[in-house]
Amino acid sequence: MKIDYVIKRILHTVLIFLAVITLNFFIPRIGVDDPAERYYPPQLGSMTDEEYDEIKALTREQYGFDKSNLAQYAEYVKRLFSGDLGNSFQPGRPKVMEMILERLPWTLVLSVSTMVISAFFGITYGTFAANQRGRLADTALLASSTVLTALPSFIIALILSMVLGFGLGIFPCYADSEMMTSFDWSLAEIGNVLYNAALPIISMRIGGIVGYAVSTRNSVIVVSSDDYILTARAKGLSNSRILYSHTLTNYLLPIVTRFMMGLSGLIGGAVVIEKVFNWNGMGTLFINANLNSDYPLMMGVMLFLSSIALLANLTADLLYFVLDPRVQDGGRR
């Protein structure tokens, strides 16, 4: 029964992954008569039509456009599973995988630290607000949540950048490009990264903190009114015991899901923030790929983002499985 569930979840994930791969393969092929023509426009000057046809034929051959879609697809999947996302259209045809892996850490710096920070502060403050229900801390939270959830992160980013960056000069208005290439794990460098990442992180997740806080607060309140908390209180357990042993275990469940789901959303959303702060992460890589119509790279990034989302979902499911015994017995959540 227990193992069944895990296997089912994993199979399910694999199935979705295959579907995502398929989409990834076909999306850039929609509406293109002859991909070769798009990928290799002829040059100025002496190229004759025959020469151009020759190049197109060569391109078709090199990219495998001459084969049937199915054969191309099989090839694509085969390469994918050997960790090869193909080669970018960029000059020199660098490997998409390497390009992504080069940028990934810098996007993760933003999104993971943002996640952790917002989850930490959000959960702490949310618990605090729930215990302070109706008082200042709580009302302030609810009021700010109405404001902050309605403000897209890039507007917050623009305002922060205008006020704290360009205006007061407390934080850099844009990321130090050199930092990313010369990073060496020294304390100063880590500090520098934090200093540069401060504004992006704040603007990405100031709303997130509030979001976490509100959902924590609400689930604490909901959980607190559950009967088993009453039982725990009727047992005369200390408040902290009730909080950590009874309330926390239950309200963390939905928050785990939220955390995992949030991760993929954040990396996707980082695209905008990276642009505002000149941050050389996956987002800028993606926009660059878009400008050059570099489909292998675009689809590579998409696949990466989708995989992260999938993995996050799977992790959330498995965590649920570990944390909630009801799921282990096949119960609905």
Partner: protein, 594 residues
């Protein structure tokens, strides 16, 4: 309640830790070296550098610093200056070449002091391999700057796939019918098309590759294969060139490219000292112009590689350490009409554009002065006949400036049967209304808005149509556009190329948006192949007025370009017409202030 206080405390403490962690400002050490910091506005830096395979973004800039060409071209004196090549000569002077010989022979001597960055000398083998690869379809496709190698005269038996009879370039090691002397070990011969300018692109645009590395290229492992091997990728990632700078691979990334000066570079300054005075160059990527502008104000960079928008000029000038240099740009913006529509994309409107009367009327509706003052805020100048530089001795200065004449335009259109139907604002003919889309990138939208206003007065409706991110790939090559705005330039070194494409040099080009006229084509060919210099100049000027009269590329303006640079760290900036303040001459002249 106690619990709450602890929670609150925890919150405050961790917030404090975070903030103090953030407050480590160590910006000051970012200028610890003597490199020139160059801001570059693009979506990101490439990870690999294969000199031939890109003509976009920073790649050509960096490649031309790491690798070198045979010669460089001195626009002012119309002569080739030595780089890898020490000297060159026609084996037989062009005017003495027999009529039945359709090629010229050029002899180039390689500088024996020139070395690769690993210290080995540049040899004729390198030159041979380079041109061999560049002209060999089976080992590398044309890409980027290699288009010109079609002018090398290879002769085959019957067709291209047949036996090679005469090789267009050869070295001592690949002798043809020549006798070689001992001193000739440094010599390469070119057989080129009988076109005066043909040697220019061969000399000045093809970056020489090291034979010791690129000898792995074969028919199986093509140079621009879509999936390079590890070995090839290594070469792209760790470029070894013969240019004045080398790439510091470890310190370069998506945001920064670090170039270091080679002190063993074979070219020296007049006093025999190091030619390039800057010790290194750091290109720093900025996604947005505004960020670069702020960086130069803050002192994070010394110069911005590209022209800055006019709106910032006043703001930048407020900073005492920042100067702004204004010079004219290398391009004329021209309204290009699609007169050579491929069948697939033919529409009634596009067919109408083939009517010279309509084109004439369109030209008459354009007011250059108005466009310059309104859309450029006065930062530009008028142009004639598609060319702009009045000091250029090849420009036909008898050509008149385009002047707006709405009355005449309306009169022409009325006479040609383009009439305004009742209740209609715009003209139409045979049920086809004069409604055209200008396909362009959003950057030119302001200009297009003003063109809309101008054309409305002659009853032509103009609609803006965004044409994708990459004009050439998305619409220009395909020929799927009514009108577009295109940069047109005229550089003497490439004059025969320009002329054949009717002045276009920006990126790729195509037949679309170019009148295909047999008489004109014949005249262009005559100009290209004539070996009489004076006759050539005469034809160039004639062609200019012929092409201008066709009115399919209607000059709008040439905009001024403003280059921003700092004067507190380096001195000795040199402004070069058409390229702005960041150029090779500046790099050779800049000295670090103490």
């Amino acid at each position: 309640m106690k619990k709450n206080r602890i929670l609150l405390l925890l919150l405050i403490i961790s917030m404090g830790i975070l903030l103090t962690g953030c407050n480590q400002n160590d910006k000051s050490d970012s200028r610890s070296d003597d490199s020139l910091y160059v801001g570059y506005i693009s979506a990101g830096f490439p990870a690999v550098f294969m000199p031939w395979l890109s003509n976009q973004g920073i790649s050509p800039t960096v490649s031309s610093m790491i690798y070198s060409t045979l010669f460089s071209y001195d626009e002012e004196n119309d002569e080739f200056l030595p780089v890898l090549g020490k000297s060159w000569e026609y084996v037989v002077e062009p005017d003495q070449v027999p009529q039945d010989q359709d090629y010229l022979e050029v002899r180039v001597e390689i500088d024996e002091l020139a070395t690769w960055s690993n210290g080995t000398p540049v040899t004729t083998e390198d030159i041979y391999l380079t041109f061999d690869l560049a002209s060999d379809f089976s080992r590398s496709n044309h890409a980027g700057t290699l288009a010109w190698t079609g002018d090398l005269k290879h002769d085959y038996n019957a067709d291209r796939s047949g036996e090679l009879v005469r090789q267009g370039i050869f070295t001592v090691n690949h002798p043809g019918d020549y006798e070689f002397t001992e001193e000739d070990s440094n010599v390469v011969y070119f057989h080129v098309d009988k076109v005066l300018g043909a040697i220019t692109p061969l000399f000045t645009t093809i970056l020489i590759l090291p034979e010791q590395e690129y000898n792995i290229i074969s028919q199986e492992l093509k140079l621009n294969t879509t999936s390079p091997t590890e070995e090839l990728m290594y070469l792209f990632k760790n470029p070894m060139g013969s240019g004045p700078f080398t790439l510091n691979v470890d310190n370069s990334g998506p945001g920064v490219i670090v170039l270091e000066r080679r002190d063993d570079y074979h070219l020296k300054d007049d006093d025999g000292g190091i030619l390039y005075k800057v010790e290194g160059i750091k290109f720093i990527n900025y996604l947005d112009e505004i960020v670069a502008i702020n960086a130069i104000k803050e002192g994070d960079i010394d110069v911005i590689n590209s022209s800055v928008s006019n709106i910032y000029v006043d703001n930048l000038s407020e900073n005492e350490n920042v100067s702004v240099d204004t010079s004219s740009s290398a391009y004329v913006q021209a309204l290009t009409l699609n007169v050579n529509v491929p069948e697939k994309y033919s529409t009634p409107e596009r067919e109408l554009l083939k009517d010279p009367i309509l084109r004439e009327a369109i030209k008459l509706a354009i007011d250059q002065e108005y466009l310059i003052s309104e859309s450029l805020d006065g930062q530009g100048s008028m142009v004639r006949g598609g060319l702009f530089d009045e000091n250029n001795k090849y420009v036909n200065d008898t050509l008149p400036f385009n002047k707006i004449d709405l009355a005449k335009a309306n009169q022409l259109l009325d006479a040609a049967g383009y009439l305004v139907e009742d209740g209609d604002k715009f003209r139409s003919k045979d049920g086809v209304s004069l409604r055209f889309e200008i396909t362009s990138n959003p950057g030119l939208k302001t200009t297009i808005n003003y063109i809309q206003v101008l054309f409305e007065q002659v009853g032509i409706e103009i609609v803006y149509h965004e044409g994708g991110n990459n004009a050439t790939k998305d619409y220009f090559y395909l020929g799927d556009f009514d009108m577009t705005i295109q940069g047109v330039s005229f550089i003497m070194s490439n004059v025969d190329m320009m002329m054949r494409a009717h002045f276009v040099t920006v990126g790729y080009s195509s037949n679309y948006g170019r009148v295909v006229d047999e008489d004109l084509a014949a005249k262009v060919n005559e100009m290209r192949s004539t070996l009489n210099y004076d006759r050539k100049i005469e034809l160039i000027k004639e062609l200019q007025s012929d092409i201008a009269a066709l009115n399919y590329k209607i000059p709008l303006y040439t905009s001024s370009m403003s280059s921003a640079y700092r004067t507190d760290v380096f001195s000795g900036w040199v402004s070069v017409k058409g390229t702005g303040i960041y150029n090779d001459e500046s790099l050779q002249n800049l000295t670090r202030r103490q």
